[in-house]
Amino acid sequence: MHEYSLAHSLLQGLLEHLEREPVSGRVRKVHVRQGELLILSQQALKEAWHILTERTPLAGSELEIERVEVRVRCRSCGYRGPVPRVEGEGWHFQAPVLSCPRCGGRVEIEEGRELAIIALTVEEAPAGEVDPCDS
């Protein structure tokens, strides 16, 4: 239910970034990494993006969302990597178990909580064509 506020933060960040480092041409795709621990609807995030980018230079661009699985670091034995999941009837998500699979120790989450733009796909404007945003 907080997809709009997060889409807004992504958009603000990207607009500021493009002001500092402009691209030549239209941004068609915005590639995003979303950690699996976030309780976000990808569909709602895409819709929020569609609406919030109206009348911005990013109008018409689409979010490409890549889901990132949890990776942890164990505070006791130093294990780094993925964790097992709780599955079965009645479990609505394949919940990751936040504990070390090697020694059972406490872990820190290294990946799985992020929401970040990692790349843009840009379509170069053909020579001579006027960008409607500049007119």
Partner: protein, 216 residues
Amino acid sequence: MHEIRTGFGDVLKRQLELAERNYELLADHGVRAVNVMGAIGSGKTTLILRLAERLRARGLRVGAIAGDVAGDDDFKKFQAAGLPSALINTEDQCHLDPHRVRHALQEFPLAEVDVLFVENVGNLVCPADFPLGCEQEVVVISVTEGDDMVRKHPKIFAQTDVVTINKLDLAEVVGVNPQRLVEDYRRVNPHGRVVLTDAKSGRGVEELLSALGLAE
């Protein structure tokens, strides 16, 4: 078409940075803060009042921040109990965020409290994604929500190290086995602490204080 790699703008890292600033502000004033999360009607406010009574009996000064979409009902309860308190109305936002909490903390008489409870918006989904900068977090479930709550929302439970199962006195009436909630929680969070409470009678409140590291 060509692809440009960017390495900027993890929007949740930004939330985490804001939360860390809150953590530092609280630490500078020697305030121990607890983020209290849970569904609407799980008993967050009553539990906070019970915890506050016990802490005050030990000579500690307790404050509370009430986070609600609208209205000041919980805030008034904190005021009536004589707790220094503040109200955050999120205007339909489904969770507290570190930025709003920062503003509330800046206005709060932090020098007058040792322990601060931050009652999140009643919601078992969204608050999980927004750290506030409190040193402790607790999720309150009531047995009246059903014994499948952990299975329905494993992500918030996997990430929260203290859980309390409240309204224990009603378990039999509503036909819920609290042990099922306890076992499910242990599966997703083997390191967490779970406490059974009945805030109305005060049962389990002392144990909850100890789980939150506030019993000393």
